[in-house]
Assembly symmetry: C2
Homo-oligomer: 552 residues x 2
Amino acid sequence: MKLLIVGGVAGGASAAARARRLSEDAEIVLFERGPDVSFANCGLPYYVSGEIAERKKLLVTTPEMLRNRFKLDVRTRSSVETIDRAAKKVHVRDLATGREYEESYDTLILAPGAAPFRPPIPGIDLPGIFTLRNLQDIDLIKGQVDHGVKQAVLLGGGFINLELAENLVRRGVATTVVEKNGQILTPFDREMTTPIVEHLATKGVTLLLSQTAESIEKTADGLVVYLKSGERLPAQLVVVGVGVRPENKLAVGAGLAVGPRGGIQVNEYLQTSDPSIFAVGDAVEVTDFVILEQTQVPLAGPANRQGRIAADNVFDRKAKYRGTQGTAILGFFDRTVAMTGASEKSLSRAKRPYRKVYIHPMHHAGYYPGAEQMSLKVIFHPETGKLLGAQGVGGAGVDKRIDVLAVAIQAGMTVFDLEEMELAYAPQYGSAKDPINMAGFVASGLVRGDHPQTDVDSILATEPGQRPFLVDVRTAQEFSLGNIPGAVNIPVDELRSRLGELPRDRPIAAYCQVGQRGYIATRILLQAGFTVSNVGGGYKTYRLFFPKDAKQ
Amino acid sequence: MKLLIVGGVAGGASAAARARRLSEDAEIVLFERGPDVSFANCGLPYYVSGEIAERKKLLVTTPEMLRNRFKLDVRTRSSVETIDRAAKKVHVRDLATGREYEESYDTLILAPGAAPFRPPIPGIDLPGIFTLRNLQDIDLIKGQVDHGVKQAVLLGGGFINLELAENLVRRGVATTVVEKNGQILTPFDREMTTPIVEHLATKGVTLLLSQTAESIEKTADGLVVYLKSGERLPAQLVVVGVGVRPENKLAVGAGLAVGPRGGIQVNEYLQTSDPSIFAVGDAVEVTDFVILEQTQVPLAGPANRQGRIAADNVFDRKAKYRGTQGTAILGFFDRTVAMTGASEKSLSRAKRPYRKVYIHPMHHAGYYPGAEQMSLKVIFHPETGKLLGAQGVGGAGVDKRIDVLAVAIQAGMTVFDLEEMELAYAPQYGSAKDPINMAGFVASGLVRGDHPQTDVDSILATEPGQRPFLVDVRTAQEFSLGNIPGAVNIPVDELRSRLGELPRDRPIAAYCQVGQRGYIATRILLQAGFTVSNVGGGYKTYRLFFPKDAKQ
């Protein structure tokens, strides 16, 4: 068996190492266009601030190590230019020497990755404008910062640019993020990004939403980015992070099938339209595990697993890729936002039925010092309760809950299973009723019909005259500090004795701070014959949709 | 419906609140023998050091709150003495006034909890000797410490006493833990407690394993604990934490069925042998979710969920309790040890087949600062790969992995599912190949037969002459810093060229530091025709069984 692998980072390197473990005899050649193999893509932004101080830490492995340990023929700075599928040969160019040659294969694995997209605006190729994909890019960005950058403009409010923003702020650089959509981190539902937007402001990052760069010009002391709005942003560093495009040139040139977004099409065995050619990683189209449609999700974890699976299939160990859930996480200073599975947006786009709940629990027992509040959104099928997606934002413990929910989605579990989860509890780690259990209680009550809920976003999307009668069941003091416009205040503990103040001819929506007292109020009013629902997640959820500074 | 609930802490309070949400009309009386309802049992030790500074934080709720919000008839300091099942009445004594009275019921829920066991040794009832169950106990213990305690002896090396040890050390108290078994934290397998044993020593706690107290005597300045070994431990504070016994007196007196360990027997609806009487919490016998035998597991999480389920059943909403997994966690300073599901010990006792793997991964990407190493043990069915149990010990991130594995066990997942898990990865939170994926890779390789493994404990249990040929595939430097006795050193990267040094007539066991290079070595040697296995988890696992200071 002669196996050629194109691309030596996450998917390619995983495939190569797995292939060698499966076969000591196979001839395995790993081609990588850059000088490095298997570097830590996800760590690159942290090198700018020195948070990761040593550059060599970013090298997960070296060509030498792959040669010695895995007996791999590693060829860096080698570009595979074309594939001759009929002759089963590739045409290679050695970028160091210029030498061109052919290499035959029995099987080929493509792991070329995805390239940052540069929008075609005037000035986009000026010096001082970078994209961030590899070590060479971060060397250039860090070099620019070391050389003295006062102002930076980051085009795009995605994961990498927000990580970069943190590290630029740590270096004292005045940083502006320009995002063309109305929210940052577009895989998330907008309201779940609100705490990160607020934290960006706290840390001094300027965020311009719904704005785009029109052109970039060189000035005496750097660059200036002109926005469509007319605003002018001077900068000595511009980083373009507005998404990536699959590196499909080789595949397209060879006549392999690619999807509408450019991703190389593969079957569940990660085999392309040519059975001798597999493809993995950011360059391929994958099945969305929840929605079951084709999509593209550039993530390191899936790329690594795909590399392993492709190698298994090359050596006739039938292995299926189960699809991608899109589990993703961002740390921004001490804040975390994470998601798994489908979002409301993706379910709406796919026209799938769903319901959602919000809870705002402490990450561990409130009585133990250091408890941090998080917001957790769980999305599920309205009738079966099957879990479809989850998003969390807060500080400590968000990653844990999203991982737990990621496994639950993988297992096909329902909101009823969340009620029953037996998670580790001591006061430093969780609560006797963990946030996951709480989400299960709330969502199960909704599916069972015990706990009618109304979404705050749907209330606010209704004409004021058509809205339910809003009763705020918090204390008078809480009410006075901020409330949903139009609400009347009857504290839950007084509710039973003040039923006469509530309308019997109109739906009532009760809310509290996070949803728990609202639930109790709902149960009391339901049993007293009112038409009532709880506003899911209470005032805290309202504030995710309508932050304090925003217009209502 | 008139519902009486006996016991107002975790299970009882949960049942009462749930009952009220299900029925506004029911008459609900909650009897609690102590002065408090629903206090934070699991937080009590942290009050001694002031880590939890305010006593009122330990009160999760108050009788007043339960009265106002849930319209409950809460009767604290009220002891339910007997049950007249025929007449459906209980006999109650008001401990404050001495008044005795009867109260009728339609349904009764028993949630009396479990009481600390005091071994019947001479002197056990002397002043200065405490058990720890409730706020009154911790007031006494804290009072004693505030009054000046130089030395404390904790009888029993279980969860509560180790938490107490941390808080006594924080107060500057010289603390000795006396444990009759050969290990602390007996639900765990012994080797997984090794890092905690080492950390106890680091923090100055004296641990005496396999020792028991024979008697306790009063001295001029306090107490002295005499051990069976003859050792004499002076102390001004002794806390007895050698296990709990179900509070079954009321149930036994009423003729309800109890199990061999004294737990009240209930069916899956948490109904006792009398259909009008339910029982929940530490007083009941539960089904072990993995082993499917009856057991007793005093844990707050299950108690809370049982309370909720019992209330559901009282109001004819059929709800089943799925059994207890025994998910448990201990924090000791910055160390964490956690488990879920079956242990090797419990599987051996129940004569169930299993295999195990050990891995020692970093809790997040090694290239990002602050990565902490953990040890993770995963136990599974040898043929199907079905997950049976897991244990983890380390620092940050242990709780997350055990929670993920707890859900996987709940879902009936296998080690193959672990390979495919898509968990949240950014360098602060995990790795592209998460510890969970790694455990899946190792265990799946074992079940599939690709990755023959030998357990280090079984090698060491074999006569030296019968052991496999041990090859240490780490570097010469690693080898020189400590190795398994009898091993020869051939670094993995030299293995292919030094095959001649290995025996073909004898099984070989390869090991490295954590198992990964040992696995690569095993694959190389297997394919070269050797009979070889990898020593699971490598030298690091060996050190869990044989710590540096221990005899080999």
